[in-house]
Every structure is written in C-alpha cells, then in structure tokens.
Symmetry: C2
Subunit: 223 residues, 2 copies
Amino acid sequence: VQETIEKTALKIFGKDIKIKGCGRTDSKVHGICYVANFKIETDLKEEEIKEAFNSNLPFSIRIKKVEFERDNFHSRYSAKSKVYRYLITEFPSPFLEGYAYYLKGKLDIEKMKIASRYIVGKHDFTSFCASGSSVENKVREVKRIEIKKERFTLDPEIKILVIEIEADGFLYKMARNIVGTLVDVGRGKIAPEEVRKIIEARNRKIAPPTLPPYGLYLKEVKY
Amino acid sequence: VQETIEKTALKIFGKDIKIKGCGRTDSKVHGICYVANFKIETDLKEEEIKEAFNSNLPFSIRIKKVEFERDNFHSRYSAKSKVYRYLITEFPSPFLEGYAYYLKGKLDIEKMKIASRYIVGKHDFTSFCASGSSVENKVREVKRIEIKKERFTLDPEIKILVIEIEADGFLYKMARNIVGTLVDVGRGKIAPEEVRKIIEARNRKIAPPTLPPYGLYLKEVKY
C-alpha cells in the first residue's frame, strides 16, 4: 500500500515522496482509517489532492481525507490515542469471510465487560504483547473498552459482537491478545477476576492465545 | 445455487430432491434470506438437517434455518409478503464493491420520503415493471417503504442509505425500479409529486431507470 501511494504521489507532484505511516499493521488487519503524512509544496487544495489520489490509485486503496498540518506533525508520533475494533460473528456468513472472526456458541457478554475493567488503565502489558517484540517499555494506558452488539448492515439478521479498544499506544498484537482473553472469559474458560492476575504476571505465556488478524480494524487515530 | 443444494440433498437423504424456491432472483442480487422448500420423509431433526447441509455445501452457500412445514406449504405461493433492502453508499469503499450502489453527491432524504408515500398502497405497477415481463396482472400492494441511514458495520465512518420495501409481491425488477425513481427524486431530477403521475401513466418508459442488482437484498419472506 505504501509503495503504491508513493508512486501515485510521484505521478501527481512530479517528486519523490516518502510517506510516514501511523504504525505497522499486520497483514489482513483492516486499516479503515489509516493515517500517513508527507511533506510537499503545492498550490493544490486539500480536496483536489484527495481527488488526484483517488483517480490514480487502484480501487482497493481509497483516500478518505486530506488535511494540511503543522510542519512538525507526524502521523505516528503526534498520535494521542488509537481506537481498534474487533468483530466477532455468531453466524458464518459468506459476506464476513475475512472480515469477522466466526465463533461457535454463545459468549457471556456481562462477564466479558467485568473482565474488561481489569484491563482499562495504565498497566505493564507484557502479558498481551507478542513475544519477540523489541519494545522495552511495555506500559500503556488502555483508555476505554466497549463491548456491544451491532446488526450487520449487509444482513441485519446477523448480530456482530464489536469490541472497541482505545489506548495511547498498542504493543505488537496487543489488541488481538486482549480480545483473545476477553473471548476466553466469555466462553467461561477463565473467570473475569483472573484477568487481573494475567496482567500482573507480565508473562505472555500465561494469557490466552491471540485472535486472527482479519477481525481487526484500525478505526481511528486521535491527535 | 439450486443445483448445488439439490446435489447436497441427494447426498444427505439418498434421494432425488427437487427444491422449490420463493421466486426468481436476478444475478448479483443477494438472497440473504431466500426461502425454499422440499418434501422428504426423515428421522432427522430440523437442526440436524441444517448441520448436514452446512457441512456439505460450499462455504458460499449457508443454510440459516430448517423448519418442518404443513404439507401444502409452498415457499413462493404461501408467501404473504416479501421485504427487499437496497443499499446506497456515499463513499466508494472497497468493502462495498458489489454490495452497495455508490452514488456521488447528496440525496434529499425528506423529498424521497414524500415520494415514497405515493408508492405505498395498492396500485398497478406497470411503470415499475421491466418491459418484457409476461405477468398480466400488475396490481401489487406496497405495504411499507422505509428510508433510513445506517452506519456500515465494517467501517462505521461510512453511512449507508437503506431503502426497505415490503410488498405482497414484486414484479420483475420492481424493487430496483422503485428505488431508481426515489433516487431521482432525492437528486432533484423529479419532484416528489411527479411519482404519482409516473404510477398513473402505467408506462415503464416514463419512469426513471432501474438501479444495478448488487445493491439489492431479499431481507425477509413473510408467511
């Protein structure tokens, strides 16, 4: 995606442009609101730049918004928080293949909500960070976890469980690891109170497994 | 789809089975709640039959529900009404390619609602029936038209205009023709009051063009 956008930028502005993204995203994670920035001197207006990109990019990449920013803006380092959404479907709809995680059986939403309260706050999230990450400081602040059901627009008979997580930063695979733990609580595999012990253990091996990437959406980057 | 389901039924019951569908559906229209019936003597329970189909069908076809019915039930002729949904997106999201009709520019929803009131009721719908249809009686009762905006589950930043139409029966391409007319009202091409004249004219050539099939969903068949 980055390379394609840079090639298109070269076409539009006639200059080599290096875009800076708001963070790594695993393959198959949906970057519905991915933010990137680059520096350019131009007479074009924001809306014109957007149109120029969208008429030159392949249809699978769409620019939603172009905004001029202050000189020292960085899509990654200026971010105050990020919001991820994870989608779980109770019915294996062909529409949702690659777009939501299919889980057979009911989840106890109330227990998942109780468990989520242990996660919200400033903690060392080593237990939810994929092993092999080179990041040293694993303290992050989870600002909010929301668990709700939404009807699927393309088939309103299908209810989708949406887990929204906002944090000032996410460690590698942290969002999918948090959801994996919440799901194990919902299934009754672990008690909500155990989540506190999992966090305190600061040990990835103690926490439940990660969930697949295709259920995850980067919903918003806040500045 | 019909052939695939019949082959699977043969596999499950060891008998040649002919399924009867609830009506023709154009290619690319999404039959999210398509109903079909067949006759079989079996000891299997409803849930077991469903599981047997779903584990033998290709993933693109899913059975949502199996129900035993009275002997003279016919998925098409016993239907009291059908509900179709048409989805229009204001943003050309790659997620929605083939799943919603992309329309540039704003639509005047209030005017569309006024126009819809002329369509609701028992009318001769010749103006909304594709020419070439062999049906003689073109009187149908449109019971309800609902026009509302919904957030798209896979990208809640995108709002989708949903037009839901319930009728005791639909003529060929009638749902897509009704929506085509409502959209022309929303764009300001025709006034809401003109819709009454269009219906009264009983002439397909007078009404605005039909919309593409991939925006249309058979949402429910009521018995």
